[in-house]
Amino acid sequence: MIKKYLFLFIWAISIFLITVIYFLFIKNQIENIFLSNSLSSLSDLIEFIYPRFIIERERFEPGFFIKKADQVVLRFVLINVTLFLLYYLLKKSHKFKRKWIIFWNQEASTFNLNFFINAFYLGLFAFSIDWYWGFEKMVQLNIFYHPLLLFKFLGNSYPSLLLLQSLCVLLYLFCFLILFRYKTVLFSISACFLFILLQSFLYGFEKTDQTFAIFNYLAMLMPFLIFFFKTDKGEDKKNRKSTFLVLIKIIIGLCYFQAGLEKILISNLNWFSASTLQHHLLTHPTQFGLWVSQFEWLCILLQTASLLFEIGFITIVFFPMKYVFLPVGILFHLSTFWLMGIGGWFNSWIFAYMFFIDWEKIIYQKFKFSKATITIK
């Protein structure tokens, strides 16, 4: 009995101790670093994790950074408490454990899995096709290039146009080789690597963009979906266990959940002030956005609706809510385009919603196609 709960006990004590150590010793250090410009190992670590710190400390007072440090500890505790409760439930409740196993071993039809693989790599090709020409202009900016944290090992110089365009062509080639089911695992890993690498050159100018954030996660998970698609057989030949399809849906849901949670954790109730959206509408001006910014009540309504959507989207993974959240999600992304010019009609986030749709059902039942005519390998 003691052994069974020893791990949980040590875990709980560790979380508590880390929190106490932060508030007793580390919190004061952060203010010292800010005020004294000291080059301690802690300040080196801060500058490694937060490359913008050196600039931001010129703009904000120490209290701003101390609040951020408090947030890091709060979030660490929040995640650990969630994991702790999950682990405890799995150990304690057989009913919960059974449901947990069933949840992760949901089956998907081979048709749908094939559809997701084909559609995703066609999407990857379509979303990145303009990079080939985009780099022609972008190489001019090489004097401003500053490699992103995890890509510093590649050096500080911007690659030549020939190399960048060759990498683009390789990416497109890999996408098509996957469509033709040629060494799918190998080329899906290679496509993921190139997709992320090329973005590191697009975003090496002090600002990363979240346009393809969801596609990065999907590109990282697709090789595993493909690998287990080949090896995991379902109860019958038409289906496969699809743990990674479940994970993909969870990740899409968690991206929205994180965005909503960030607003609550960082701003608390301040985020609901009309001035928040009004500021963003003015800094990302569109004709429609400027018109909306005149009405405080409309700004508050839109902010509240978007927060509810972001927090609530994750329920789509556990409950039959797709007919609510997918249309609202499309409206959400289109409205950020209409109001602030962010994103566009052809949006990778909306594209990712395809993983929530039963395409087999739609194609066979709605369009009355014969199965024989559209069977995918």
């Binding site: 972008m138 401003f144 992103l148 992320i196 697009l202 600002k207 954030a213 960030e262 960082i266 928040t276």
Partner: protein, 133 residues
């Protein structure tokens, strides 16, 4: 045996992936390709949060014009790039670099303008750096 290996591999991949996925949320920083979804989360309470920059040039007819970063392929916001040079006190170097990538040789002067809010009217008193090629 193979199923057991697969299960272990799945568990390991999911745990590693979730750790990396949650790291930007916990540490409040992007670790590209892992992102923090903090866009628009910060409340606008300080005046400095509304500051914005723009690059202007004086053409051959002495007309001031705003430089468009999209013309050189920068499709992400240039704010962070400009802010980086401004707060490192390298604004003139920044304008020199802009001049070196510009193809227009008739430009008489480059100017960096700092606005305290996007709606502020542009005038010469807001120029924080100049460079004459």
């Amino acid at each position: 045996m193979r199923q057991f290996k697969n299960l272990r591999l799945k568990k390991m991949v999911i745990m590693v992936f979730m750790t990396l996925f949650l790291a930007p949320f916990i540490l409040i920083s992007d670790f590209f390709p892992f992102s923090r979804f903090g866009m628009f989360a910060e409340p606008i309470k300080r005046k400095i949060q509304s500051e914005t920059f723009l690059v202007r040039y004086i053409d051959s007819n002495n007309n001031p014009k705003t430089w468009n970063f999209k013309s050189v392929g920068l499709y992400t916001s240039p704010e962070y790039l400009i802010r980086n040079y401004y707060y490192k006190k390298e604004s003139v170097l920044f304008l020199k670099k802009i001049n070196s990538i510009s193809t227009d040789e008739t430009i008489k002067e480059w100017q960096l303008i700092k606005l305290s809010s996007p709606s502020q009217t542009i005038n010469d008193s807001l120029i924080v750096a100049r460079y004459q090629p």
